[in-house]
């Protein structure tokens, strides 16, 4: 038997958690290998096409669970390639949440003030910027006008998009053809590669075992580049330190499957999953009312008819993100474009008798597709998701050649979660149906359960070993040298889009991970600038470093 490949650091996944870790460790001098289960696509490879097998189905992972389905990235760059690039910071009250555990769920070391310097580091790297009203697409403008009409404020959402090159084509879920979305393919990943990181696409990690020298052996399958149901090879790599950043739908599955080899996992691995409290509503607008009530004149003189135009979310109502409101009653209402297929099937015809999501009334609703508006609610759920036993490989039994699979997550929403959804639905309805502007209904949960594009918390940080899988430095309890830096580390729902927080937590974890790497015999140091060489963010966190390195 030939000797296994060796590396200092093995990173599982190339989304926010993996890319940030790979960059800092490689820039600091470590030998870094990244295994990514999905393909490696870039600008010209991103199709504007719904044909099965185009980039749209290649780069996504849609896993149907029991009570909740997850949509996640499946490509080099992970979620950053498929997301809508909304980069708000989490509101202050989020860090004080108790959830169902009767005490603060975030580590004592982390609150908004403590995380702000790390948010700044990410904003320098991505870069995130606020949109002005000229950047706001018609659907966002319509949502803002409806909010104002109902006495609410509305904010253009900070995004990681170069608005000068953006064409408002709304294909960004399939990857940005015009390189306007500043995904990880433009910052952390190329910088990591420049420092020697090797990224291997279509390498799906199955489990970890131990090596004799205290390190870890990472076992992977190689996946066919067209039919992901097919395994074409496999192998192992030995590493002194492992970063698990496979996403909140896959990280706990890999760790659960490793349990027979590594020994028992912390109780919270595969528990406390949060769908970020997500829920969607689709409204159908009456254009005459848009003109008469809101006074809007849009494309070609029409009041609206522009659902297809834009760039994901552009405007959110944050009036319910009020820390004085009780937990589970705080949520954001964000305008969002979801394309046909994934974005139409679950929509229910407002006011129709059953069936509402198929049949005659639904077809009539589809006829009015151009006057749709989708409102994305991010509420506070109760971390009620639990992963069952792992499937034979990967994080799901793959059904279709790409994208669609059946996974082990069970999610039975608690009364708290259901109440939050009901309150968010009511707030949406109050705004959208005022003076006959629109008719609105939530997406059905009957087909594929609730639906999240922001899976979180399935392997979370915390101070309490009973309810957190990771310590406050992101190390897996009881398994030194394994760190988790993706969305699964976030303790709970954030009430806003989570990418910025996932990235900031990964940045914050890096000084401690570098120190742990040094203790494991890796020659590495912390202190890389932003991927483009900027240094303001690094200066901003300098004084925080001693508290993040284990004494």
């Amino acid at each position: 038997m030939s000797a296994a490949e060796q590396t200092d650091v093995l990173v599982i996944g190339s989304g926010f958690g993996g890319a940030i870790a790979a960059y800092h460790l490689a820039a600091g001098g470590a030998k870094v290998e990244v295994l990514e289960r999905g393909p490696w696509l870039e600008g010209k490879d991103f199709d504007q096409d719904y044909l099965l097998g185009s980039s749209y189905t290649k780069v996504f992972d849609f896993v149907a669970g029991d009570g909740m389905s997850l949509l996640g990235g499946n490509c080099v760059g992970g979620g950053s390639v498929v997301y809508f690039a909304a980069l708000p910071r989490a509101p202050r009250f989020v860090f004080e949440r108790h959830g169902g555990i009767g005490r603060r769920m975030w580590p004592a070391m982390i609150d908004r003030d403590a995380l702000d310097p790390w948010y700044d580091r990410v904003a320098e790297a991505i870069p995130a910027r606020t949109q002005d009203w000229n950047d706001v697409s018609y659907p966002g403008g319509l949502w803002a006008a409806a909010c104002a009409h109902a006495g609410h404020t509305a904010n253009p959402v900070p995004v990681g998009i170069d608005t000068a090159t953006c064409t408002n084509c709304n294909w960004m879920m399939a990857g940005c053809r015009f390189d306007a979305k500043r995904s990880l393919l433009f910052n952390y990943l190329p910088a990591a590669i420049a420092h020697g990181t090797r990224i291997r696409p279509l390498h799906e990690v199955q489990y970890l075992s131990r090596t004799d020298d205290g390190g870890y052996r990472v076992h992977y399958n190689v996946i066919d580049d067209e039919d992901y149901r097919v395994t074409v090879g496999g192998g192992v790599i030995d590493a002194k330190l492992v970063i698990v950043a496979a996403g909140a739908g896959a990280t706990p599955v890999i760790l659960q499957r490793s349990e027979p080899h590594l020994g028992s996992m912390p109780h919270a691995v595969g528990r406390y999953f949060s769908g970020n409290g997500e829920r969607l509503n689709t409204a159908v607008f009456d254009e005459d009312r848009v003109r008469d009530v809101l006074g809007l004149t849009g494309p070609g003189g029409r009041p609206y008819g522009a659902f297809q135009v834009g760039k994901g979310p552009t405007v959110a109502c944050w009036d319910y993100l009020d820390g004085s409101r009780p937990e589970y009653s705080r949520f954001s209402l964000e305008q969002l474009y979801f394309p046909p297929g994934l974005g139409t099937i679950l929509a229910q015809a407002p006011g129709a008798d059953a069936p509402t999501f198929f049949g005659v009334e639904k077809k009539k609703m589809l006829d009015q597709w151009r006057n749709w508006l989708i409102i994305f609610q991010m509420t506070e759920d109760d971390n009620e998701g639990v992963f069952g036993p792992p499937p034979p490989t990967g994080n799901a039994v793959r059904i279709s050649q790409q994208m669609l699979g059946r996974g082990p997550l069970r999610y039975n929403p608690t009364p708290n979660t259901l109440r939050g959804w009901a309150e968010a639905d009511a707030a949406c309805k109050d705004i959208l149906e005022r003076d006959g502007l629109a008719k609105v209904a939530p997406w059905t949960n009957d087909l594929v359960g609730a639906y999240t594009v922001h899976p979180l918390a399935s392997c979370r940080i915390g101070d309490d070993p009973a309810t957190s899988a990771l310590d406050d430095r992101h190390e897996l309890r009881g398994h030194p040298g394994i760190f988790v830096t993706d969305g699964s580390a976030v303790p709970g729902a954030l009430t806003v889009n989570p990418a910025m927080t996932i990235a900031a937590l990964a940045e914050r974890a890096m000084p401690g991970i570098v120190e742990a790497a040094r203790r494991r015999g890796i020659e590495v140091s912390y202190g890389a600038p932003a991927p483009d060489g900027s240094t303001a963010g690094r200066r901003g966190v300098r004084d925080l470093l001693p508290g993040l390195v284990r004494g």
């Binding site: 706001v136 403008g141 904010n155 064409t167 084509c169 149901r229 009036d319 993100l321 005659v360 597709w369």
Partner: protein, 189 residues
Amino acid sequence: MRPDPPGAEQTRVLTLEAFADTIVPGEKRSPDDRAIAGAAPGPGAVEAGALELLAWDATGITDALPELVGLLNEHARAFAAEHGAELDDDVPPFVALDFGQRTALVQRLLDPGHPEKEFWVLLALFSNMAYDSAAHRHTAEALADGHPGLTAMGFAHPDSDGLWRFPEYSYGRALADLHPDTIESGSLG
């Protein structure tokens, strides 16, 4: 003279067409069209290409179709017996149901408590996708050919290079006050 009972292939086609037509209904292709119930004006999922999409093994459902067709017709027979409905033998049992009966049966199969729900969800999902995203075709080509679903929805045509761009995209003015706690980064403070 009555026609012979439908053969296996005809049963497969008629049954799947009738299911897809229940999901996104359309008008009959001819007066003697039995699969399409004619419950809605304009073409529906069948004419949008539902059977073409279902026949593509990339969906992962193709191999299961013969079994699903058999199950659906069994359910239809049971449904008819339960409701005292007469089924004629010229067409498969599900096709012999009227549109309201087909709809009621499909609702039952898609109900969260139904043990086979997962399979019917997939069948419904791909029937829908044939209509609202033409997942069996290149989107630009489907639009150029007047694909019924994308056309009815008003999906915009791409530029001459096959790519979508919307140079006209914004109302271009402030339409609401910002949240009072908004900070420079655009987030709440």
